[in-house]
């Protein structure tokens, strides 16, 4: 494929509907050729943002630059973007090949050339020889691939995907993730992928933007996003968390100690916090473990109240004075010592993260 991705630059883009702010002023820079995800709960404004980039919606304020060119005022059919819809929006009355070649037809490409290009693209998405079928005759995964081929046919610089995998079952979804990633690498097109499924975003993306209530809270690589969430929302939305509200009692070198109902928690301060301020301490279940006699920054005596086997991992629920804590550990076979009633559990200071919160929230 000769196409190369272009960068997308949103400058202070905001969208309001009447008094409702769907998207607060946001800056966003997506690099050329990147697999970029926008992750957030439903209603956070991510689809609105996607419609702004694709040109179906004019932003209330701000500019949209694609490949360095201001395209805020161009319609969807004038932008070098292609959108893959959540429901795919395959044209039911056209054959697969006609679907794929539709964008070329719109550009006045001749019938023969259209068919040749369509077949080429169908090869790319592993649908060789399916050109004369109707979309209704294909399976879910095949329809997915037709949608990708149709979007790629117009050689877009940026491909926008609006939760296209949500209708597929789990197995197929995992398979399609890998396939999308492969296609993206092979074509070099910039992918902007919208999803509410964090595992999807973590698995495929080069970088992820996490959105909440119309605002982009953090943009980072999947690893850093998971390990170093910048806000409580990001920490809570990406992966699981044990979280405890409390008050900061001590700070030092980027670390803070928080007094919470279950006791004192020492953790890394994601943002500067002041002693006496309300704070939120969070620790991921997989970081919590049996500590035995080992010295750790955080240590609690707790009762095991429930044990849930999830296959490769086991989730343990503990109760202690003032609260509960969930720990997740790899399934190492039957180890009866977990079944004892009282345990010493804990985690290192680097495994916990402390956020300042508004006093009213605390």
């Amino acid at each position: 494929m000769a196409t190369h991705g272009r960068d997308v630059h949103l400058k202070a883009v905001s969208v309001t509907f009447g008094t409702f702010t769907a998207v607060a002023p946001n800056h966003l820079e997506v690099k050329a050729g990147e697999f970029f995800s926008i992750l957030g709960p439903s209603g956070c404004g991510k689809t609105t943002l996607l419609r702004v980039i694709s040109g179906f919606l004019s932003p209330t304020a701000g500019r949209v630059l694609i490949g360095g060119t201001d395209m805020t005022d161009l319609g969807p059919n004038e932008r070098p973007t292609a959108l893959i819809f959540q429901n795919l929006a395959l044209f039911p009355l056209m054959t697969v090949a006609e679907n794929v070649a539709f964008g070329l037809e719109a550009r006045g490409v001749g019938r023969k050339e259209r068919r040749r290009r369509a077949d080429e693209l169908l090869d790319l998405v592993a649908l060789s020889g399916m050109g004369d079928r109707m979309p209704g005759q294909l399976s879910g995964g095949q329809r997915q691939r037709v949608a990708v081929a149709r979007a790629l046919a117009v050689e877009p610089a940026v491909l926008l995907l609006d939760e296209p995998l949500s209708a597929l079952d789990l197995k197929l979804r995992q398979h399609m993730r890998a396939e999308l990633k492969t296609i993206q690498r092979r074509t070099g097109v910039t992918f902007i992928y919208i999803t509410h499924d964090q595992s999807e975003a973590l698995a495929m993306s080069d970088r992820i933007a996490v959105m909440n209530a119309g605002r982009i809270e953090q943009v980072d690589t999947p690893d850093r996003l998971y390990a170093l969430p910048a806000t409580p929302f990001v920490a809570g939305f990406v992966g699981e968390q044990n979280s405890y509200r409390g008050r900061v009692v001590e700070t030092a070198d980027g670390y803070a100690a928080v007094d919470t109902p279950i006791g004192r928690i020492r953790g890394r301060a994601a943002q500067p916090v002041a002693v006496g301020a309300a704070a939120l301490a969070m620790v991921r279940p997989e970081r919590v473990g049996l500590v035995g006699d080992r010295e750790t920054a955080n240590r609690f005596e707790a009762h095991l109240t429930n044990r849930v086997l999830e296959g490769p991992v086991v989730t343990h629920e503990f109760a202690m004075d003032g609260g509960t804590m969930v720990a997740q550990a790899p399934n190492l076979g039957i180890r009866s010592h977990w079944l004892a009633s009282v345990h010493a559990i804990g985690f290192d200071a680097d495994d916990a993260v402390v956020f300042p919160v508004e006093a009213s929230d605390a």
Partner: protein, 270 residues
């Protein structure tokens, strides 16, 4: 409710439906039988033997044949008018959800709720201002004004099930609005256009109440039958009835068969 009470209710209902079916079909039978009676007036009580003579008589009847021709001309004209009007109305309403849309909807639906003779008369009065007298043209215009409403409703019902993302997908792929209409919307509406044309044709062909008030000195098959029913009865009228039934049932059967094939291919396509 006890079991026996349910069974009794069921029997009452079955008997009622039986009587209702007799009510529905008795006139049909009487009408058809009289078409084969040799008696020169339509009758089943005065049986003078079986005959087919009224069938060729129908085709020799110049006024009826001319009426048939007029009916077909008007019906084709009605299709040519009401399909574009109905389609345009539905497309406009589909995008106007505001109060203006509500008012426009009321105006477009109102002809369906008006007695046919009102439509015929108002058309006649209106066109007199342009010195156009009652005739085939006015009958066609009067019929189209309310048949377009039926077409509009059919198109609108289909449009309401239209997946708007298809249109957006096409635009996103670079299609012009005209191309969206030609390649996406019209193919989607084609089955409705065919059904609506068939219904428009039948409605026009069968229409009496509107036509008789706007046709002036001219006539259609149905208005001619109407005046024969008052003056100069002959079993030829019954023959017309039999031909009507046979043709309609044949066309309906054909339509059902075709649409079933269409549904099957649609089901495969979606």
């Amino acid at each position: 409710m006890t079991r026996s009470e349910g069974r009794a209710a069921r029997i009452v209902l079955d008997v009622y439906i039986g009587l209702f079916l007799v009510y529905l079909f008795a006139p049909l039978v009487v009408m058809s039988v009289a078409a084969f009676n040799a008696y020169p007036y339509p009758s089943v009580t005065q049986w003078r033997g079986f005959t087919l003579e009224w069938f060729p008589a129908l085709f020799r009847d110049e006024r009826l044949m001319r009426g048939l021709f007029n009916s077909i001309v008007i019906a084709l004209g009605v299709i040519a008018l009401s399909i574009p009007f109905g389609l345009a109305g539905a497309l406009v309403l589909h995008r106007l959800q505001s109060r203006a849309g509500g008012l426009l909807y009321a105006i477009m639906v109102s002809p369906v709720l008006m007695p046919g003779l009102i439509i015929g008369l108002s058309t006649l009065i209106f066109w007199r201002h342009f010195s156009v007298p009652g005739g085939l043209f006015l009958a066609m215009v009067a019929q189209a004004s309310f048949i377009a409403s039926y077409c509009m409703l059919m198109f609108l019902a289909r449009l309401e099930r239209f997946d708007l993302t298809l249109e957006e997908a096409a635009l996103d792929l670079g299609a012009s609005k005209f191309m969206v209409m030609r390649r996406i919307l019209f193919p989607y509406l084609r089955p409705t256009a065919i059904t609506a044309s068939a219904i428009a044709f039948l409605q026009s062909f069968e229409n009496y109440n509107t036509t008789v008030f706007s046709i002036g000195g001219d006539w259609t098959l149905v208005t001619e039958v109407g005046s024969r029913l008052r003056f100069g009865l002959s079993p030829v009228v019954n023959v017309v009835g039999v031909v009507f039934v046979v043709l309609t049932v044949a066309v309906a059967t054909l339509y059902v068969l075709l649409s079933r094939r269409h549904v099957a291919s649609d089901a495969r396509a979606s």
